[in-house]
Amino acid sequence: MHKAQSVRGRGGTVVRNRKAYMDNGYTDAPVNPAKKPSNPSVSTGRHNQTYALMFVVILSFSTRFFKVMEPPHICWDETHFGKMGSYYINRTFFFDVHPPLGKMLIGLAGYLTGYDGTFPFIKPGDKYEHHNYLGMRGLCAALGSCLPPFAFLTVLELSHSPAAALISAALIIFDTGCITISQYILLDPILMFFIMAAVLSMVKFNRQISSPFSPSWWLWLILTGVNLSCALGVKFVGLFVILLIGLNTARDLWIILGDLQLSLVDFGRHLLARIFGLIVLPMFLYTTIFAVHFVVLNRSGPGDGFFSSSFQSRLIGNNLHNASMPEYLAYGSVITVKNLRIAGGYLHSHWHLYPEGVGARQQQVTAYHHKDYNNLWVVRRQGDGEDSGAPDLVRHGDIIRLEHKETTRNLHSHFHEAPLTKKHFQVTGYGINGTGDPNDLWQVEVCGGRKGDLVKVLRSKIRFLHLSSHCVLHSSGKTLPKWGWEQVEVTCSPYLKDTPNSQWNIEDHINPKLANISLSVLKPSFLEILLESHIVMIRGNSGLKPKDNEMNSKPWHWPINYQGLRFSGVNETEYRVYLLGNPVIWWLNLVCLGLYVVMVATASVSLQRGLQLDEKRREHCRVLMQGGGMLFLGWLLHYLPFYSMGRILYYHHYFPAMLFSSMLTSITLDTFLQNSDLLFNPATAQNLKWGGRALLSIAFLYSFYLFHPLSYGMRGPLAHDPSSSMANLRWMDSWEF
């Protein structure tokens, strides 16, 4: 069939290429898929592809599982994610900047393989000893092993060229970086698994365009949606793949809209199906993940203080769980005051002064997220009169002093500008043993209350109005610099608009003179919890600022493989693992990005100029511009946003982008080799095509042989020592293995 097609309707220039065209088992895209199985040559192609896929799977699993138990101690971030896996097994509540799915899967894998959650995961280098960590590492390695087959299938689907598919799989299989990052208890292999699965499902879904609403069409649509929600459920980086698939879907719909043979009703069905599969279903699954997270983690743990009072009351073991305390705020009570802004801190002070040049040199007042005795304040009357006998209750409109229990200074404000929010006034701790000045007086107001209303502990939203300068106690949410111990700024705001930032609630309330009443705090709804935990996560993420003196990884370092990450070991005697991409592969990727841009520019200019191209070339242009374009967009979306991130960045953030880059490389190289007859004479081109493939295979294998100790561990002298076996592999001064 091919032969017939290619001879028919082509001039002399085509005959020249015919051999090249026939012998790569190439199947044309526009061929009706229904006809495929009846064609013997296509079915052998199918068989070959199956064998190739099996080969890829075997290679992939064997490289990832080789020495997966080495080293038998905590490596790098295993200390976090292993620990969080254990928290799930122990059902202890914790706080992390990433969504829960990845850690839940790690916890589940550990649980199923008999890990009991007792290993403390204190710091990198601690030995696992008798604890069973196989399940957790095995899960990550298994998911990481799926990346090359996924890349193979995706590229095959996009380019219909088994050669390209094999190149893409080989690029990932033999990349030391991809091996290393798949072998430990980390979120990245899980994340990359879902990203690649989503892309693969999307590509498969795109192929079903000719038979919409068929079972396989629905299957791939739903799989895309499921993988998207899982990717986002592991890390927020999943947003980038959502964006990629969103753009692809928009383009898809645009084409359908332009098809005038379809009625608007048909278009509506297409639209609704996609809304269901790619928006509603993923959102449902994503919230389900969180629902499971909250149901499983029902015990108080280290993350409590980041959350609101009502949230904490859900946790067994928290002091607010089935709390019992005096119901109404009274004079003489010892209290903690929590800001009502989502994830606001406790009103806090400590024995440190504001530094020179920052307002008045008085004691700092901040908002702090952790539970601490410095969060305790005592409610005092306006005058110095000691409380007599029966305690008086505080009412709306009362004028009080708040005395810091530990330092006996009063909450104070005055006309100095606040340290960060210059439009507001500074809040300090002033006076000693409760003796201060009129600037220590605050009027208590219950939001929505009237004069004389009592202040309910936990439930009332209250604000503190500064009497003399007429401003309200406010938490800006900005982090103070080092002198303020990176706690949150507290100011007095002259803008009296009601915002949660200037509202507070009483959380702990201790007054021995009053009877304790069991309080069932208003249980928060699931959506409130969800929103709150997201805001806490996002704040936590943007709070991960690079430290001043730390060597910081910059996004431009990544594609050039400038610097790796130490996973294990520093010294000569230790077992060292170093996360660094195989430089041959990474630099090839880099070159191919440039080559791709040049090739696409050439192709699109010649198409725009209306150059007459034969069928084969036009197909190559299509693969390059559509398939390659999608991958290029994926690379951009997974890479460029890092330039605008203020948070601390690490080398391993590049790995999802690297997968896209590898797939793009395979398509670029394959198209380049197949079209080399445009640059050279046919015989040379033919040699170049086979020679190029052979050269690539040798280069991958040999560089893998050279650099495999990076992943599989090395001992002995460091590479900057000339006696080391790795000495002549240190191609860049910045590598530190």
């Binding site: 500008e417 608009k497 725009q608």
Partner: protein
């Protein structure tokens, strides 16, 4: 014959009258009485400093933008004969008679006034009627915020002027070219070149101009792409012409601004220390006076000061003094108790070190001098205290993962002397390169521990006099500026005696060689410094976030009369702002509807009108977006006036949308008449609001407290009330 000629002439006359009229009104509103107030208004204190430095031809670095803007302001000062003598330290400070207020303010005011006719022309170039253009220019004319920003020595109006000019001239070129449908005439090329100049100037005034320039380039490339598709045309010539005009001219112009900048500012000044020693040496006075004629090659016996290449947190010199590390730090860790070695940001006699050959005893330079080369081992002797630079396996005071660096004192506690350092020239050209004053970037690698001498960036507590910490970094990776040092001041030591040497160290250096840096090297360094110097991103009382700008939730008080309630505020015309927002949203919605319907082959408007809608959308809505959205990514302190370029483009959408509705949506005459009436009423309303706010736009007449409170239309505006 005569009858057929008459109508076009009258039409042309009408155009000129409208254009001339708005130009005249623009000049009147922007230029009238700009000498008032005769006091420094808001950011004038900032630009004024730079203008003074220009007039005095003193070098400075300003990270806020490229030099053209400041040069334009300085031109005004030059023409007015300003001598640069004013302190510029306080907003509201009265100008003395030597400050030519009118001259300083006239150029921005002129640029601001010309924005009004440019707005008119832009709407015309986009293919809309002169009436529409007239409405556009009226809206710009009565925009209080643009008036305020134009009337003082500030740069936004100049930026807006160039942005509009660039767009107008490019569109004019495109129109001429597409009418001719062959390679454009010389008039067409002239417009293109003008566009290139305007683009370059816009970028030269403020970096923000870059985004509009990119938008224009995008538009030009789309046009170019269509050209490629047209096989009848030879694209090479016209493509090369565009490339030349729109890329090469702005780039050359930008370089040209810096060339003028660096040529004008040849004297050393307050920001010298931020630059490299080589750069400083190229300025007259300052370091050049000291380094001029220093020996080039560092030799054994040389007396040197070593400057850290990193200027974070501040530029500083390797320093030591007669004070030891405390035996125990506050956190309980111990030290060697040897002499402190720090990095000190001021010139001081204690910054002098002597390069000594470990194999010999003498400290003077032999004759002939023996130069120090890459890879040589040296000792560094502190000139005033005669202690050797030493490092050892003791944790540094602030960065405990690194080694302490000390001036060695033998306490007889089995802490041996480890004072050998290998000279590693990072920018060497050959392996036997000689260590050169100022030019060589040197790493000092400790021989025993292979630690590298490095500025940690932390400052020491009180016991270290708050100077900067210097450490030995054991794990040294890559190229770090903080571990590189260069010799700044240098002389060949002559004496062996300590006392005489101390005298020698106190005396200034002198000999004679001079070095010059090429323009490109100076440009690259200055540009890099300007982009990387971090200004304090602290909040200002009147700073705001981009989200507040759309609804004008914020204002800026520019000036308050020293004794009464007269004041000037940056507050826009609220009606115009609201209308502009509505128009933008409406325009977006309309385009979306047309787009979707066209996809289904339902064509509501003719093809030509659709093209017009798209082009106006790209220029105006696009101009708004590129001048507004980037601010969300910026971390610097932002003010309401940053929104004005975006606002200018946004305002132009109002009349464009109105005309579109008038022609394509309203069907019968009655609707159109009503519509015309509404437009007229809205214009009156705009004028009314302009009039109401004009006292705080122009600063007179003085309003009473009640009237001022009445102007506080938004809770969040800060209007100053003087307490009586």
């Amino acid at each position: 014959m005569l009858a057929s000629l008459t109508p076009p002439i009258t039409l042309k006359l009408e155009l000129d009258v409208l254009l001339l009229g708005v130009t005249f009104l623009g000049l009147l509103t922007r230029l009238g009485g700009i000498q008032f107030p005769k006091a420094a208004v808001f950011d004038e204190v900032y630009y004024g400093q730079l203008v003074s430095l220009y007039v005095k031809q003193i070098f400075f670095i300003d990270e806020s933008g490229p030099p053209l803007g400041h040069m334009v302001l300085a031109l005004g000062a030059y023409l007015g004969g300003f001598d640069g003598n004013f302190a510029w330290n306080r907003i509201g400070a009265e100008y003395p008679s030597n400050v030519p207020v009118w001259n300083l303010r006239v150029i921005p005011a002129l640029a601001g006034a010309l924005c009004v006719p440019l707005g008119y022309l832009l709407v015309v170039e986009l293919g809309y009627s002169h009436h529409t253009a007239f409405v556009a220019s009226l809206l710009l004319l009565m925009e209080n915020s643009l008036i305020v920003q134009s009337r003082f020595m500030l740069l936004e109006s100049v930026l807006i002027f160039f942005l509009l000019l660039a767009m107008v001239s490019y569109l004019r070129f495109y129109k001429l070219w597409s009418f001719a449908s062959v390679v454009p005439s010389s008039a067409g090329w002239a417009w293109l070149v003008l566009s290139g100049f305007a683009c370059g100037s816009a970028v030269g005034v403020k970096y923000m101009g870059l985004f509009t320039y990119l938008l224009l380039l995008g538009l030009a490339s789309v046009h170019m792409w269509q050209l490629i598709g047209d096989r009848n045309l030879s694209t090479v010539r016209s493509g090369a012409g565009r490339l030349l005009a729109l890329v090469l001219i702005p780039v050359l112009l930008y370089l040209g601004f810096f060339y003028v900048h660096l040529t004008l500012l040849y004297r050393s000044g307050p920001h010298d220390q931020m630059m490299s020693s080589a750069f400083q040496a190229s300025l007259e006075g300052g370091l050049a006076r000291i380094t001029q004629g220093q020996p080039l090659e560092v030799a054994y016996g040389s007396q040197v000061t070593l400057r850290s290449l990193s200027s974070k947190p501040v530029p500083c010199w390797l320093h030591s003094h007669k004070a030891n590390y405390p035996i125990r730090y506050e956190n309980g860790r111990g030290s060697s108790h040897q002499q402190q070695v720090t990095c000190y940001p001021f010139k001081d006699v204690n910054n002098w070190w002597i390069i000594k050959d470990p194999g010999r005893q003498n400290l003077g330079v032999s004759s002939p001098p023996r130069p120090v080369r890459h890879g040589d081992i040296v000792q560094l002797l502190h000139g005033m205290t005669s202690r050797f630079l030493n490092t050892h396996d003791v944790a540094a005071p602030i960065s405990p993962h690194s080694q302490e660096v000390s001036g060695y004192i033998d306490f007889n506690v089995s802490m041996p002397l480890q004072n050998l350092w290998k000279v590693d020239i990072a920018n060497r050209e050959s392996e036997r390169d000689i260590w050169k004053t100022i030019l060589s970037e040197v790493r000092l690698v400790h021989v025993n521990t292979s630690a590298v001498l490095k500025l940690s960036g932390a400052s020491l507590p009180d016991w270290g006099f708050r100077q900067l910490e210097v450490v030995g970094e054991k794990i040294y990776k890559g190229y770090q500026q903080s571990a590189l040092w260069n010799v700044e001041e240098h002389r060949y030591g002559r004496t062996e005696e300590q006392k005489e040497r101390e005298v020698e160290l106190q005396s200034p250096t002198q000999t004679d060689v001079s070095r010059n840096l090429s323009f490109m090297a100076r440009f690259m360094e200055l540009q890099w410094k300007m982009l990387t110097v971090k200004s304090e991103d602290s909040e200002h009382k009147y700073s705001s976030s981009p989200l507040e700008w759309i609804t004008m939730d914020t204002n800026i008080a520019y000036w308050l009369h020293p004794s009464n309630n007269a004041q000037i505020h940056l507050i826009g015309n609220l009606v115009t702002w609201v209308l502009a927002n509505i128009a933008l949203a409406g325009y977006g919605l309309l385009t979306l509807i047309y787009l979707l319907r066209r996809r289904r082959k339902i064509e509501d408007i003719p093809e030509a009108s659709w093209d017009q809608v798209v082009q106006a959308g790209i220029v105006c809505a696009g101009g708004w977006a590129v001048n507004y959205l980037p601010f969300f990514m910026m971390e610097k302190t932002l003010f309401l006036y940053h929104y004005l370029p975006a606002l200018t483009f946004q305002i132009l959408i109002i009349p464009i949308l109105l005309e579109h509705l008038y022609i394509h949506v309203l069907r019968n005459q009655f609707q159109r008449q009503v519509f015309g009436g509404v437009v007229l009423a809205v214009l009156c309303l705009v004028f009314l609001v302009y009039h109401i706010f004009s006292p705080i736009t122009y600063g007179y007449p003085e309003l009473s407290s009640d009237q001022l409170s009445g102007l506080r239309w938004r809770e969040s505006w800060d209007i100053l009330l003087r307490k009586r």
